[in-house]
């Protein structure tokens, strides 16, 4: 147990006077590791207050340089820091503010490839991002890593905050399952924002973070706080955990991280066919490997004809428990890499999942390991249930 030094006791004496925090709470703050993603409008006030509050380890992720237009709200930075690295300047400022704590700099873009590793080293994440693609990535990473995600966002004179992925509560996708198309929604750079809003919402995030660490009060879990600075009103809406949520629902379809940017970028390019539905169709995945498809009806025909086929189900065990194709082999997508030896490279394999997405990824995995006779069941078991066997329950 890290006990507090005399200097720390003096520094944090106003906390120590609060019975809800006290020595025990302050020690929890000291042991806590908090990752702030985005050192901008929201990250500035939250990092300043969390540093001052004595969070033992504060991680800051950002890849940007300080721009003169940031200074109106990003109070971490001084005017002469324009052009310098945000995380570098943040570290200097926060270290001066509180030399008792550890500041870790992560001078990088928060991306799918590094998200899990980064988040793994922390207890709580503060979402201070300024775009939907990173926001959804933060949400998904927190759900998959089971870390509380203290959410905040601002636009013009409005702000929102909540606590996601915490103690059985909902996540951002429970409310808005998919991000808006590309960069279609105006951001602060386009629509503007009152600088103070960033301060207010960022402080609310810091407040929620401290409450979670000290297990005090009632957090914003399951509540979306709405702030309207012109009306000067706070309101809140109830958000329930959505059992159909694509990432934290009962049968999640998002089980690994992916950069939304890639998805959005490809959506911006109208004109390429992605799939066809004639017999023996081929579809082109993102990586453009040619993939053979088979419809449910054709598969039924081939199975009835006695043709030797391996039917591979790559869904999760609870999905399979609800209903599956007779005589299928079941290897969840996540275990596929470790269980390749259970499959015969020479045999014809038809892969399916719920609707065809995960099975395509499975086929890519198998192709990479030298499997050749692979086909994807178009529309997955959903199509099978629809076209061949309605008695099968699809979760």
């Amino acid at each position: 147990m890290d006990s507090l030094s005399r200097t720390e006791k003096i520094r944090y004496s106003r906390h120590l006077l609060l019975p809800e925090i006290g020595i025990a709470g302050q020690e929890k703050l000291k042991q806590a590791k908090v990752l702030i993603i985005g050192a901008g409008g929201l990250g500035s006030p939250s990092s300043l207050y969390l540093a001052a509050a004595g969070i033992g380890t504060l991680g800051i992720v950002d890849f940007d340089l300080i721009d003169a237009t940031n200074l109106q709200r990003q109070v971490l930075y001084d005017t002469d820091a324009v052009g310098k690295s945000k995380v570098q300047m943040a570290k200097e400022r926060l270290s001066r503010l509180n030399p008792e704590i550890t500041i870790r700099m992560h001078d990088q873009r928060f991306s799918a490839s590094t998200a899990k590793e980064l988040i793994a080293a922390y207890d709580i994440v503060i979402d201070g991002t300024d775009n939907f693609s990173t926001r959804y990535l933060v949400n998904d990473a927190c759900v998959l890593m089971n870390k509380p995600n203290v959410y905040g966002s601002i636009f013009r004179f409005e702000g929102q905050s909540s606590v996601f992925s915490y103690a059985g509560g909902p996540c951002y996708r429970c409310l808005f399952p998919e991000p808006p198309e590309g960069d279609a929604i105006p951001n602060c750079a386009e629509g503007g924002v009152l600088g103070v809003i960033a301060g207010i919402i960022g402080c609310i995030q810091a407040n929620e973070c401290i409450k979670i660490i000290c297990s005090i009060g009632k957090t914003l879990k399951g509540r979306l706080l709405l702030f309207d600075s012109l009306a000067m009103s706070f309101d809140e809406l109830k958000i329930d955990r959505n059992p159909k949520c694509p990432v934290c629902g009962n049968l999640p379809t998002i089980t690994e991280l992916r950069d939304q940017d890639e998805i959005c970028a490809s959506q911006n390019q109208p004109g390429a066919p992605t799939a066809t539905t004639n017999s023996n169709r081929v579809s082109t995945t993102k990586e453009s490997t040619v993939m053979k498809e088979i419809t449910a009806i054709e598969l039924k025909k081939e199975l009835s004809s006695g043709k030797e086929l391996v039917v591979l189900d790559v869904r999760t065990p609870p999905e399979v428990a609800l209903g599956r194709l007779e005589s299928c082999v079941h290897i969840p997508l996540q275990e596929l890499n470790q269980r390749l030896d259970e499959l015969d490279k020479e045999k014809d394999i038809v892969v399916y999942c719920k609707s065809g997405g995960r099975s395509r990824r499975a086929i890519e995995v198998l192709q990479n390991h030298g499997f050749k006779h692979l086909r994807n069941l178009t529309g997955g078991i959903t199509a099978w249930s629809f076209e061949v066997d309605p008695s099968i329950v699809v979760g």
């Binding site: 300024d130 636009f155 409005e158 409310l175 808005f176 929604i185 629509g191 924002v193 012109l230």
Partner: protein
């Protein structure tokens, strides 16, 4: 009853963030809202009566999933959009 309008829809409400309307169900409320602010409904609700993907409607702080939800007349209604800024 009072309806909170999110900023992307305020071009329809002459920039008002809170407007008054009435209706015995959410469907009727949105129809009346559309009479007062022509065009606003279709931007939120598609032609099959589905609530568009990036719009959410709350009555008395609870999310609306069915437009036939009855209203007493004194509820607080929020229409919200996802915000991205930070």
């Amino acid at each position: 009853m009072k309806i909170h309008i999110p900023s992307p829809l305020r071009s329809y409400t002459k920039n008002e963030s809170i407007v008054e309307s009435h209706g015995s169900s959410v469907r009727e409320l949105l129809q009346n809202l559309d009479h007062a602010y022509p065009g606003i409904r279709f931007r939120m609700i598609d032609e099959q009566d589905g609530i568009r993907q990036h719009i959410r409607i709350f009555v008395e702080r609870n999310q609306v999933t069915d437009l036939s939800m009855p209203l007493k007349g004194n509820e607080l209604v929020h229409i919200i959009c996802a915000l991205s800024g930070g």
